[in-house]
């Protein structure tokens, strides 16, 4: 550091931010790695069907594929909003 450096404004070190963002997205993508390609479409179509009856948002549906000694298990969980039961089915 030179004695004149205090005159320059130091940029915020950004490598730490990059590392943190990468750590999260890489972990997330690894967890869905190897899952079938149709999963995102399946998820959005299921959401459409469920929305006919209950108002849920995209985050409410969780789909997981687990490998268990030779076979795969498709796990689907839907978190229903509290206090709202099924509305009239849309036509």
């Amino acid at each position: 550091m030179g004695i004149l450096d205090f005159l320059k404004r130091k940029p915020e070190p950004s490598a730490g931010i990059a590392k943190e963002r990468l750590r999260i997205i890489v972990a997330q993508e690894r967890s869905t790695r190897g899952a079938p390609d149709y999963l995102p479409l399946l998820r959005s179509e299921l959401l459409e069907v469920i929305k006919k009856y209950v108002h849920v948002d995209l985050d409410a549906i969780n789909i997981n594929v687990e490998h268990d000694s030779g076979h795969e298990i498709l796990e689907l969980s839907v978190a229903l909003p509290e206090g709202k039961t099924a509305t009239t089915p849309a036509t």
Partner: protein, 271 residues
């Protein structure tokens, strides 16, 4: 004896795959190996320019796959190393020109011709060309820049290497994965502006086989059509030398990871 097949891949474009393929192939040839380097980027031929043999391309990879030329006719002998050969990509726009059977036949024929190593320069992306470049590989060199999109893409590629290759499908043991960090700038790393070697290793969970410092010599080498590994005065050239030695199993410490030390006057007056 079968040839060892090494794919140079990355997912993201522009990170230094072709530069690395050219230097890796040249380095292996300098170590006395018989080497072929193949450009898999159908429609966007570039390896020939980096190797400096662009005016000697007569037949290409697709011509061989389609039986329009023999392998011998299509292999371009390197001017500098007689045990190094280049197989250029086709400039056809037909992406389906390459087939898995065709690629397998060429690789088998290279093995039969006594080649020790075949370096496959993958196109960017994860489409057919990239898939075929990695499918038969024994080793993979994953080229990554210390930059968010490149790191993420290389993680995707590492996943594909572990599942979508012949070795993975047959359960022949995993492909040997080598992570090569290129365009590394120690000054910016020390300033906290760039991911460090350690950061990248931690995020991807794999250690590097080499770190190539960002260097003006890389552009100069590609301008001249001479693989940068031959520029022994450049740090990038020396770093590629070390990398090739490590791929061949030698144990060498990483170099050029620290910013050059500033002198007294620079410390006092900055700059």
């Amino acid at each position: 004896m079968t040839a060892e097949i090494i794919v140079v891949t990355s997912g993201k474009g522009g990170v230094g795959k072709t530069t690395t393929s050219a230097s890796l192939a040249t380095g292996l040839a300098m170590a006395g190996k018989k080497v072929a380097v193949i450009d898999f980027d159908v429609g966007l031929r570039n390896l020939d320019l980096i190797m400096g043999c662009e005016r000697r391309v007569v037949y290409d990879f697709i011509n061989v796959v389609h039986g329009e030329a023999t392998l011998k006719q299509a292999l371009i002998k390197d001017k500098r190393h007689e045990n190094l050969h280049v197989l250029a990509a086709s400039q056809t726009r037909d992406k389906d020109a390459l087939t898995q059977e065709g690629v397998e036949k060429v690789l088998d024929d290279l093995s039969a011709e006594g080649f020790d190593y075949v370096v496959c320069d993958s196109p960017a992306g994860i489409e057919k060309g990239a898939h075929l470049a990695m499918y038969f590989a024994d080793h993979a060199v994953v080229v990554v820049n210390p930059e968010v999109s490149s790191v993420r893409d290389s993680d995707r590629i590492l996943g594909l290497l572990a599942s979508k290759t012949r070795r993975a499908e047959r359960g022949d043991g995993a492909i040997k994965q080598h992570l090569l960090l290129t365009r590394y700038n120690p000054v910016r790393v020390e300033a906290g502006e760039m991911l460090s070697v350690k950061d990248v290793e931690e995020i991807l969970g794999i250690s590097v086989v080499g770190v190539i410092p960002e260097s003006e010599n890389v552009l100069a080498a590609s301008n001249a059509g001479v693989p940068v590994i031959l520029d022994t005065n450049s740090l990038a050239g020396q770093a590629y030398h070390d990398t090739v030695a490590r791929v061949l199993g030698e144990d060498r410490p990483l170099r050029f990871l620290d910013a050059p030390k500033k002198g007294f006057f620079q410390r006092v007056f900055g700059g």
